[in-house]
């Protein structure tokens, strides 16, 4: 799923009830379609945990943070969990500043996120 500036790749992990959404590029309010389409695909595949991999992120503005909250609401409504990996120090600080880290569990590695989701 891609739009100018944002690409989200969906990968179902070996733990089949978790999906990894790898984000490349930027997250702004214009990223809604690729992000939500990726989430919809992950949900169709039966994911109970959605792991956002921010390793390829190079830009996020406040519109992007709002988009993450919208995604969080949908995940919670679906009875799923939202986790995050691949955050560098700058983006960890943003999730701390906005207190999104109180709702999105942050892990250092995908393996740790999968273990927490299981």
């Amino acid at each position: 799923m891609m739009t100018e500036g944002t690409r989200v790749d969906v990968r179902t992990t070996e733990a089949a009830d978790a999906s990894l959404l790898r984000i490349e590029g930027e997250i702004t309010s214009a990223s809604e379609k690729p992000l939500m389409d990726a989430y919809a695909l992950a949900s169709e595949r039966g994911a109970k945990a959605i792991i956002l991999d921010f390793g390829g992120l190079d830009y996020m503005n406040s519109g992007g943070i709002g988009l993450l909250v919208t995604l969080l609401v949908r995940v919670q409504r679906g009875g799923q969990r939202l986790l995050a990996v691949g955050l560098n120090e700058h983006y960890r600080q943003i999730l701390s500043l906005t207190r999104l880290d109180e709702a999105i569990a942050i892990h250092d590695t995908t393996e740790a996120a999968l273990a927490a989701a299981g």
Partner: protein
């Protein structure tokens, strides 16, 4: 062979740094209820979550998005409707700065309260406020400008929950619509300031999450509006108690 350094994120300078507790350089005529509090966004609010988008096309105005945002930041307090006052931080609207404000505690009611906001994001084309504990809303509010065809469009977008059940009740009783009018008036004032005589503000409101977060009932303990209202309601009873209390001391 030199290891490749990771690229610095392009948004690095636009974001504030996390703070444990807020502090401000702004001064107001009201009580400072912000210093020492934490920020509180839509994740930490009680009520239903709303996404509200207000926009106005600046038809005929010769101002681009960056100039409009600079103008908006510079004179932010002058575009607020009468009845509310914004006290900018000394260095202006920049990431990390905290502003104070006096607003109607409940939109439409004569009860005023002092609160504030933190600037969590600011670049050339937008800036975003986040509310503190004690504010009536738990919200992010983004002010932005963009080019659409031959006009600049100014926008206010709020992602908000009411902070506590008291404010949620007032929202259900009409304060939600009154809050919308506040931003419509703000954009009308902004548009007139750049020469748009009859601004046409468009509004869109979506309930993003109909669920209330009952674990945040505890936000009531920060609510200046709730505490002031309780004080006003119990004032007559306290007055009667003082009147009927025996006088101190007695005739000798």
């Amino acid at each position: 062979m030199t290891a490749t350094q990771p690229k610095a994120p392009r948004d690095r300078e636009a974001w504030a740094h996390p703070v444990e507790r807020l502090a401000t350089t702004a001064t107001s005529t009201g009580i400072d209820t912000v210093t020492g509090r934490r920020v509180a966004g839509p994740v930490q609010g009680f009520g239903q979550m709303w996404q509200k988008t207000f926009s106005v096309r600046l038809v005929g105005a010769d101002v681009g998005p960056e100039d409009l945002i600079a103008h908006w930041k510079d004179r932010f307090q002058t575009f607020w409707p009468k009845g509310s006052t914004f006290y900018a931080p000394l260095s202006g609207i920049k990431p990390g700065e905290v502003a104070l404000m006096d607003v109607q505690a409940v939109p439409g009611a004569p009860l005023r309260m002092s609160t504030g906001v933190m600037v969590i994001y600011a670049d050339q084309e937008s800036f975003t406020f986040m509310t503190p504990e004690g504010h009536g809303l738990s919200a992010w509010i983004t002010f932005s400008a963009s080019r659409d065809g031959d006009s600049t469009v100014a926008q206010v977008q709020a992602l908000e929950r009411t902070a506590d059940p008291f404010i949620e009740l007032t929202y259900m009783l009409g304060a939600n619509r009154m809050n919308d009018r506040f931003w419509v008036r703000t954009l009308e004032n902004l548009a007139r300031s750049v020469g748009v005589l009859e601004p046409d503000v468009q509004a869109q409101k979506v309930c993003v999450d109909r669920r209330r977060q009952w674990r945040y009932v505890r936000n009531l303990r920060f609510s200046a509006a709730f505490l002031m209202s309780v004080g006003m309601i119990t004032a007559p009873a306290r007055w009667l108690r003082r009147r009927s209390a025996p006088p101190a001391g007695g005739k000798g």
